[in-house]
Symmetry: none
Subunit: 222 residues, 2 copies
DNA sequence: TGGTCCATATTGCCGCAACATTGCGAAACT
DNA sequence: AGTTTCGCAATGTTGCGGCAATATGGACCA
């Protein structure tokens, strides 16, 4: 097993590396967000362990990018910010686990083991469904080669649907994606967006099924 | 999603239940280890949340039994014993997460979500009977490779039947699974659902026997 | 063996809640 | 000011799921 450790305090990093290697866990160590993103490009790591506070920013901000680079990558965040609010923030952002400093090294090992107890990730579905291509980088899309104009809300919704193409997306997940965690929605506005997306997606041979009581599912027209 | 909460402090239990249900998580609540083991027999729950200290013992001791009854059941342990040693002990025993009291309810919700998000868990949890494969992660099923459309009630019933394939499932267990512990049913509606399931399952070489006076049993057609 | 009882099977009906669609007006951007 | 976006609600549509009427079949007893 090879993990990516992103930690800027060198003493702590060294301690962690030697402890982890004593448990037969290989460690690649970098110390900035930028280097972390670069390292993940090769997708060779089974887990990423991020210190939250790094020289070039809060590591929570790059979790989406890490996930985009390697779908399903398990992520553990280490932080001195251990209040429940901080922990929730970390988990909601997509971390699989959040460990407050100070911690005992063996606990980190145990949590890595807990995350690894499951088999590896699912291959990335890609960004093409039917005649639709969706660019995760800038949120643009083309239908059969023709660029399509999408509003902001539509982009947000479509991104989630495309990422999970062929699998159902819970209505609540869509709401979270389109609005914030905070913002609430008090009508069927989401349905309206879906409706308009459907019309725009029709030329791309892509349809959005509704799963009654659950949410929606995007797939190529059969 | 339906979870099993094992907690003997009634005030805390009530608070958790109302918070979880506000997040659309169904909760079945029991207060002893014995009742927990009994509840898991029916294999109805997606996650078990255990208070560590219970009237009839330390809940860590029954984790292996829970796992035996339902392979892959994710388990979260709540405990006032929050030292690193205790946490490690919990994780090593097989808990997927260990949350120290006192905690903010939203953190528990976030951790439940994090556990359910695990893609690997979904891959882990496919069950095959005859030509039927049932995906415990998202409640979808395929018959001989063809995806089948199931209604919500059908999914709930089929999940239990598949989990206990080859063993009889008490009628009462099915009612619990499809409706709540509380909700009652005043007609033969369950039978109707079974009937419709049978028709859908026929192409998958799977049949549902009725065990007169007891319940049902699902198995591959011989 | 034949009859009766009762649990289960099957099917259609239909209310109601979830979802779809569209127009309108307010707000936000240019 | 003009344009676009978006939230909202009114209205239309769909289909789940509860119920009950009727059918089937096994169990038990005489």
């Amino acid at each position: 097993m090879r993990i990516l450790l992103v930690e800027d305090e060198l003493d702590l990093a060294r301690a962690l590396i030697s402890a982890l290697e004593r448990h037969d866990i290989l460690v690649d160590h970098v110390s900035t967000l930028e280097m972390a993103l670069e390292a993940v490009e090769n997708a060779v790591h089974s887990i990423a362990v991020l210190d939250r506070k790094l020289p070039d920013g809060d590591s929570l901000t790059i979790i989406p990018q890490l996930r985009r680079a390697q779908a399903g990558l398990p992520i553990i965040v280490l932080s001195a910010l251990g209040s429940p609010e901080h922990r929730i923030e970390g988990l909601e952002t997509g971390a699989d686990d959040y460990l407050a400093k100070p911690f005992v090294v063996d606990e980190l090992v145990a949590r890595i083991r807990a995350l690894m107890r499951r088999p590896a990730m699912i291959a990335d579905m890609g960004i093409t469904v039917g005649k639709l291509t969706f660019n995760l980088g800038d949120g643009t899309a083309t239908a059969a080669g023709e660029p399509m104009t999408l509003t902001r809300r539509e982009v947000l919704a479509l991104e989630v649907l495309v990422r999970r193409a062929g699998r159902t997306v819970a209505r609540s997940a869509l709401e979270e994606a389109v609005y914030g965690f905070d913002d609430e929605i008090a009508s069927n506005t989401l349905d309206a967006h879906i409706s308009r997306l459907r019309r725009k997606l029709a030329p791309a041979n892509v349809e959005i099924h509704s799963i009654r009581g659950i949410g929606y599912l995007l797939r190529a027209t059969s």
